[in-house]
């Protein structure tokens, strides 16, 4: 090996020792301070280091160091556009998309490519189930309507990675939509075209770090629903126009997909909310924690004159209910909110609805399959 000068050797040794000392001091200090806030729940690869020996403890302070992991994830995301998670796809415009929904046995990616459709038997089973629900509510003098909210990838297909191409025309929802229409079932509304038509370039309709509609995203299904009702179903003047609403965008901590990928501090969610000055012409009749019912006030501050508008709205989660409440409760006389899709006799009795509307996301369509 060629001889190196003493200065070179000294510099090498000194730099190395300084480097080691700076890291040692940092991580040993973390270990002895034993502040749990500095430790992440998992290592970068999802593993968890166990053991109580000093070596295990030091390893934890290194591999599960929150700042270190945030730096790595930030660097990866910003420089390489990747996230370290098999269930999260990085899209354009800071959008994250999910790959699999284990709970509903749904594969977003395959469905996007048209490889996850319902079989004819499944479509028939869903049709049968929806007809059963319709019949069940009809026997109680109540109409039934299913509202299908598309996934973010169906509306914002242009934000999906370009190598995936355009969304297939044979997604589960598209195939089911065609099947239901061909078989004469019209008590459903597919909101995909509505949301695509009203995509606002300045304000998104979906949360970019979660497959869920934001406040603006819930407005357009509301308008579409109102348009589908007959004229005397509600007070037309109570209909909330887009121009009367003020939405604003703010940045919050990344939501479920960002959390799953460990990016909640790195990739913020563009949250679109309704401003506080929206009118509130309704009040709560009751709120049991599970179900809530609102009543719209009339012009004189009392309860509105009786009409046919009593709705039971069933959402698959409470968050969507809270975002929708302003619209429906300000428009319809009586609105009951239920945070699941169960046909609950007690809830039905208290709601006395003339229409039951079930909101379901595209990835949850398998819940329409009858349970065996």
């Amino acid at each position: 090996m060629n001889q190196k000068t003493p200065l070179y050797q000294l510099l090498t040794a000194a730099l190395f020792v300084c480097l080691l000392l700076s890291f040692s001091v940092t991580y040993v200090t973390n270990r002895w301070l034993h502040t749990d806030e500095t430790l992440a729940e998992q290592c970068y690869d999802g593993s968890v280091l166990v053991g109580d020996t000093p070596v295990d403890s030091f390893n934890r302070s290194y591999y599960q160091n929150q700042s270190s992991l945030d730096f790595v994830r930030n660097f990866e995301y910003r420089l390489f556009g990747i996230v370290n998670h098999a269930n999260v796809i990085v899209g354009k415009n800071d959008f994250l998309f999910q790959v699999k929904d284990e709970k509903n046995d749904y594969n977003y990616l395959k469905d996007y490519l048209g490889e996850h459709t319902f079989t004819p038997e499944e479509s028939a089973a869903i049709l049968g189930e929806l007809q059963r629900r319709q019949q069940s509510y009809a026997e109680r003098d109540c109409k039934y309507l299913l509202v299908i909210l598309p996934n973010a990838q169906s509306v914002y297909g242009e934000y999906m990675p370009s190598y995936l191409g355009e969304i297939s025309g044979n997604t589960r929802l598209a195939v089911l939509d065609r099947y239901l229409q061909e078989n004469g079932f019209d008590s459903f509304i597919n909101m995909t075209d509505v949301l695509r038509d009203f995509k606002d370039q300045s304000l998104p309709l979906y949360n970019n770090t979660e497959n869920s509609l934001n406040a603006l995203g819930h407005y357009y299904p509301y308008i579409m629903l109102c348009a589908s009702f007959s004229d005397n179903a509600y007070d037309y003047e109570a209909l909330i126009s887009r121009g009367s609403l003020d939405f604003f965008q703010h940045y919050t901590v990344g939501r479920s997909l960002a959390k799953e990928a460990g990016l909640e501090q790195v990739l913020q969610n563009r949250t679109v909310s309704l401003s506080n000055d929206v009118r509130v012409d309704y009040r709560l009749l009751f709120n049991s924690g599970y179900v809530a019912k609102t009543v719209r006030n009339n012009d004189y501050g009392g309860v509105a004159a009786s009409s046919v508008s009593s709705l039971l709205l069933q959402f698959s989660n409470n968050r969507d209910r809270l975002l929708s409440e302003t619209f429906y409760s300000n428009t319809f006389d009586f609105v009951t909110y239920q945070p699941d899709l169960e046909d609950n006799a007690m809830v039905f009795e208290r709601a006395e609805p003339s229409v039951v509307i079930q909101f379901i996301y595209e990835n949850e369509l398998s819940q329409l399959l009858p349970t065996k």
């Binding site: 090996m1 060629n2 190196k4 000068t5 003493p6 070179y8 050797q9 000294l10 510099l11 090498t12 040794a13 730099l15 190395f16 020792v17 480097l19 080691l20 000392l21 890291f23 040692s24 991580y27 040993v28 290592c43 970068y44 690869d45 593993s47 280091l49 020996t53 070596v55 030091f58 390893n59 290194y62 591999y63 160091n65 270190s68 992991l69 730096f71 790595v72 660097f75 420089l79 390489f80 556009g81 990747i82 996230v83 370290n84 998670h85 098999a86 796809i89 790959v99 990616l109 490519l113 490889e115 990675p161 190598y163 995936l164 191409g165």
Partner: protein, 463 residues
């Protein structure tokens, strides 16, 4: 606690250097023995039985090398080789096929090979008895040598121990080797292996493009695993004042390109040549013997990394490739320049199926995977796998870096020969800066991502 673990780098290494370097030479062997034993216990803290077995082996091997060569040579030769090998084989087979709760004692392979080497050399009169128990303990347990280190004869180790002299020059050499080795081991090899495992895990069928990529990843991963591991081993040894020879040589490329694959871990090749092939060659000659030697060399080389006999099936391409050189030795000597590159590349390609097989937990699963080749796999899956692999861009960057690193020694040597004076100095300082930059990047960016590679033995290699 491998030599790439943060606990080793940030705590054990500085503390052990502080404790051993100031020790006077006459007591340094004891200090090194103590430090090595401590490291071994810490590295195998989850395998107390393994630690006990290794220390018993140390005592046993010491008992084998103490007597004079003419005392019970055959008995000592027999027990001194069979018992350690049996222990190694049992541990390896338990690790591969047994209960997942079994913890293979890290470094056992090197301890056993060193013990056998010492016994055989002592019985054959090729080395003297250890001057002390501590000297022998250092020979067996000196921790840098348990991490893809050079497999030294005991007499060579004694010479190096006598010549060991901590100095600024050796420390700086050790630092540069360690840093370069860490970059190769973690930033390149571990990333390539991780990508390979993820591609295999998430593939629902083998696309042709992926089928081309996988051998490249396997070979690249292995090459830099061995290059990095041996550099780390030598680097740490240099920091303690020991100058060990290179274990990773690509010189074969020009001289004996058919043997390039063995140059990846040259120390093992020399060990097997000395203790297996040469005794065999003394007993039989001719083409049959050369073929037998080749088969034995390949089998033992393969089993060194993983004791999975079924993986030997994937060595067939390499065996067939090397067979002509074994049958007609003239073929293998000093071919012309374009040909030796071609031969070297072909050898690497032929080795890749085996490397791919041993990268997977169950090597035979590779056959199942190959069976899905082109089996109605949509083109999107190639991209999806990349997306799922999560390493698209820096996988490509890693491959690019790997291709730059491969001939790095050659370019570096060429530049150093051509540059003079100030340019040479500037080149060295720039190189040092880049090395530190790469090492720092490895510490802050790559190492936190790779607890499964930095702290425990790679994949399933029970060494």
């Amino acid at each position: 606690m491998q030599l790439t673990a943060p606990a080793f780098l940030l705590i054990f290494l500085p503390v052990s250097l502080l404790l051993t370097l100031p020790v006077p030479k006459k007591h340094r062997t004891k200090a090194l023995a103590a430090i090595s034993s401590l490291w071994y216990v810490l590295a195998n803290r989850e395998s107390p039985l393994g630690v006990a077995a290794v220390f018993l082996l140390l005592l046993f091997a010491y008992a084998m090398v103490l007597p004079r060569p003419e005392q019970m040579p055959r008995i000592r030769l027999f027990f001194g080789t069979v018992l350690p090998l049996s222990l190694l084989l049992a541990a390896r087979l338990l690790a591969e096929y047994g209960n997942a709760a079994f913890r293979y004692p890290y470094g056992l392979t090197f301890v056993v090979l060193a013990a056998i080497s010492a016994t055989v050399d002592r019985v054959n009169g090729k080395c003297s008895a250890p001057r002390s128990f501590f000297e022998f303990a250092v020979y067996l347990l000196f921790f840098p040598l348990l991490f893809l280190g050079p497999l030294l004869h005991f007499r060579h180790f004694q010479e190096r121990l006598d010549a060991a002299a901590p100095s600024l020059e050796r420390f700086s050499i050790g630092v540069r080797l360690y840093m370069g080795g860490t970059v190769k081991y973690l930033a390149i090899s571990a990333v390539l292996f991780r990508s390979l495992i993820q591609i295999i895990t998430y593939s629902e069928g083998l696309h042709y493009l992926i089928a081309l990529l996988l051998p490249l990843l396997a070979f690249g991963g292995f090459w830099f695993l061995l290059a990095g591991g041996t550099d780390i081993s030598r680097g740490v040894a240099y920091m303690y004042g020991f100058a060990y020879p290179k274990s990773h040589r690509v010189g074969f490329l020009a001289r004996e390109p058919f043997r390039l694959v063995f140059g990846a871990y040259h120390a093992l090749y020399v060990y097997l040549k000395h203790y297996v092939l040469e005794p065999l060659a003394r007993r039989c000659r001719g083409r049959l013997c050369r073929v037998l030697s080749l088969v034995l060399l390949l089998v033992l080389y393969a089993l060194f990394f993983r004791t999975r006999p079924e993986a030997l099936l994937f060595l067939l391409p390499l065996l067939l490739f090397l067979l002509p050189a074994a049958l007609w030795p003239r073929l293998s000597r000093s071919p012309r320049a374009p040909f030796w590159t071609l031969i070297g590349v072909c050898g690497c390609v032929c080795l890749s199926p085996f490397l791919l097989a041993i990268s997977i937990e169950e090597p035979l699963e590779l056959l199942g995977l190959l069976g899905t080749l082109g089996d109605e796999v949509s083109i999107y899956q190639f991209h999806y796998v990349f997306s799922a692999v999560l390493n698209t861009r820096y996988l490509l960057i890693s491959l690019l870096l790997a291709m730059i690193f491969l001939p790095m020694s050659y370019y570096r040597g060429a530049l150093e020969r051509r540059l003079r004076g100030g340019w040479l100095t500037a080149f060295r300082y720039v190189e040092l800066g880049l090395l530190f930059g790469g090492f720092l990047l490895t510490l802050v960016y790559f190492l936190p991502q790779l607890p499964a590679y930095a702290d425990v033995p790679y994949l399933n290699f029970y060494l």
